[in-house]
Every structure is written in C-alpha cells, then in structure tokens.
Symmetry: C2
Subunit: 222 residues, 2 copies
C-alpha cells in the first residue's frame, strides 16, 4: 500500500543535498551504533537526519526494518574484507599483516562498530546465520571449507617445515580477530583503566598496528 518502487532519480540540479533515504540511513547508523537498537528512538534518528519522523516509516516501514538495514550495512563493512584476505592465496605472514593493518585502519574510523555488532548478535543470535549467508552470497556450508582449506594448508606447510608450532585453524582465526577487534569493543573500559583520552588511545592503536603482526607470528614461530 505505502510501498512504492523507489527509483532514486535524484534531481540532477541539486547534487549537494544528499539523497534523503541515504541521509536517514546514515543518521540511523549514527544513533543505533551509539545507543544500540533497543535504546535508540525513532525521533532521535529523525532529528539527526533533519526530517520528520514519519519519513523514517515512509522509507523503511518500521523500526525493525530500519535496524536491520543498519545492521546489514555495518556488518558488510566489517566482515567481508576479513574473509577476503583470509581466503586469499597470500603467504601466511602477509595475511596476518594485512588483516591487522586493514582492520585497525577501518576501526579507527568507526570505533563503535565492533561494540555495536557484538551487542546486536548477542541479542539476536539468529541474525548471525542470516548475516553470514548474505555476506557470502551462498550458504556458509560452502564458504567455510574454502577459507579453512587454504588456511589449514598454509599452517600445515609451515608446521611440517618446522617453522611453526601446530595450532587449530579455529584457534588461529579467533586469536587473530580477538587481538584486532577487542580493543575497540572494550574501548571505554581500556581508556578508563589506563586513564586515557582519545589521543592516547589513538597512539595506542598506532603502536598496536606496528607491533601486533610480529606478536602474533612470534606466538606461533619456532
């Protein structure tokens, strides 16, 4: 009834003022990431976007749908690069270095992302499955082996060459991701514990970006 085909044929004259739907989505991201889905109010999102709150419903029908759009976009920015790098055929230490650099660069720009995503997945675990599907384009049953295979082979090679102590692929991945993402998810706690402001935290991350690959690889070297 209210749903129309949304052909965004933006008036070519006014290029400066962004597409409304986009502006709403951006505002929703801002608010949802800070307050969480349950804690956010539609009214606040409307204010942040500078529009009447009825417009949110016009474009996204309900809070649930808007929240899902935001979540999907957020997750899409966080995970795929990770999977791409891990599943590539770069040498193992190159993979580690790239992931650390990419992830830390990314999160420096969007520090609320990890906390938001972890929190949402804790409250709606069912979204995780749906998410992995969306990200992969196919179902996880087919993507997982692909990543696992190359990674397991690389680890195996280095173990056989006596260059690395053995480790399960799952532990390898979780360790790497933990070290990259956790500091951002726990940022308020970290900053308080160490008595830091934003600049100190930034320096901490800079240093981490340099030192983490070596730390991780040394943990496995022999």
């Amino acid at each position: 009834m209210t749903v129309k085909k949304r052909s965004r044929a933006k008036s070519p004259a006014v290029a400066a003022d962004a597409d409304t739907e986009q502006r709403i989505l951006d505002a929703a991201s801002t608010v949802f990431l800070r307050r969480g889905t349950a804690g956010a109010r539609m009214q606040d999102i409307a204010a942040e976007a500078g529009v009447n709150h009825a417009l949110l419903h016009y474009y996204f029908r309900s809070k649930d749908r808007l929240a899902e759009a935001v979540f999907r976009r957020a997750a899409t920015r966080l995970l795929p690069p990770f999977v791409a790098i891990l599943g590539s055929d770069l040498p193992l230490d190159e993979k580690v270095a790239r992931i650390v650099e990419h992830e830390l660069d990314q999160l420096r720009e969007a520090p609320y992302l990890p906390g938001y995503i972890l929190s949402e997945l804790n409250h709606h675990p069912e979204r995780a499955a749906q998410l992995v599907q969306t990200l992969a384009g196919v179902d996880p049953e087919r993507v997982r082996p692909a990543i696992f295979a190359t990674l397991a082979r690389q680890i195996d090679e280095r173990v056989k060459a006596k260059k690395m102590r053995p480790i399960a692929v799952e532990q390898f991945i979780v360790n790497l991701v933990s070290l990259c993402i956790f500091p951002f998810a726990a940022r308020p706690m970290v900053m308080t514990m160490f008595g830091w402001g934003d600049e100190e935290f930034a320096r901490f991350i800079d240093r981490r970006r340099r030192e983490l690959p070596a730390f991780f690889l040394e943990a496995l070297a022999r």
Copy 2:
C-alpha cells in the same frame, strides 16, 4: 517515603525460599544480561522472579537503579580477580596461566557476561570510571600504578635477561584480556561462523584453556 530500612531478617524456618530482594536481583541479572538494559522490560523481570512488577519498584525504586545494581554486581564478578592476579607477586608466566584458567572457567559459567558489560560500557562510558573506583575501593590513580609497577618490573627483568622481547605494559594487558574475553563476547558469531553448537563451543574453550598460555608466552619469548 517508600524507602524503608531493609533488615533482611529472613524467617529462619523457611530457608529454602530465597530472599525476595535477592530473587529479584537474580532475575534482573538473567534478563538484563540477555536482552541488555534498554531491551529488557520490568514486566519480564518480574515474571522471571515470579512476583508482581510493583515489587521491583518497592525494592529498587526505578529501572535505572535496578540496572545499576545488576551492572555493579556483574562487573564485580568479572574484574577484581583479574586485577588481583595481575597485581600479585606471582612469577609472570604463572600470572598468565592463572588468568587464562580463571577467566575461562568463570566465563564458561556466565557466557553472557562479557557481551553485556562491553555493551553497557559502550552506551554509558561514564559508568566505567565509577566502576573502577568501586572495584578498587580507592580512585584508579592509586591502583593503576600499583599493578603497572609490578608488571612492568617483571617484564623488564625478563627482557634484560634476554628471555623476552620488549612490550609495553598496556599492550601486554590488552592482548591477554582480548584473548580471554573476546571469544565469549563474540560467541554467537564464532558459533555461526564455524557451524557449532554449545558442545563444540565448550570443547573449543577447553582446548583454549590448555593452549592459550603457551601461545601468549611464546609470542613474547625469545
């Protein structure tokens, strides 16, 4: 007006049925940890505790206060042991081993804890400061140096003895905590990614408990 001195002189005859205030706090923990503070409903907590929801207000005055009580209790269970071990005078590798074991044992029982605490601190960063104070009994300005001093000295000694590569204390701590806590905070994602159920995740944690100390210490050994 409604606040009375709450002398819990529990009727000694009926020891089985727990103190109501305690039952409410337990129920609130359950619900808040699962749904988050903003997502939880007072009605649900009342139902979980098996009482009328007016009782929640009778004992805790408002949702905010109840939420704070729950948060304080949760944080009190997670952090102090960590600080205690880290600040003790055990040898360094013993500290690492103990923290890994204790933390993983603890979290196996309460897997929602990390996600809840991280989430709450993201939405109310101001609570972090207040929390650290409460935990320490004194202000963080005095506790922090204490932990730092012993830890920094231990690291320094091993570095000088050519047994360890140098690392900043902050990075040391964050790395250790990341590896312990993150897997639980990201549990839904981890389980989905790997296609696991509860048993597989439990086995994963078991293995982690055994292997993590070595992983961590090897990362720094030379």
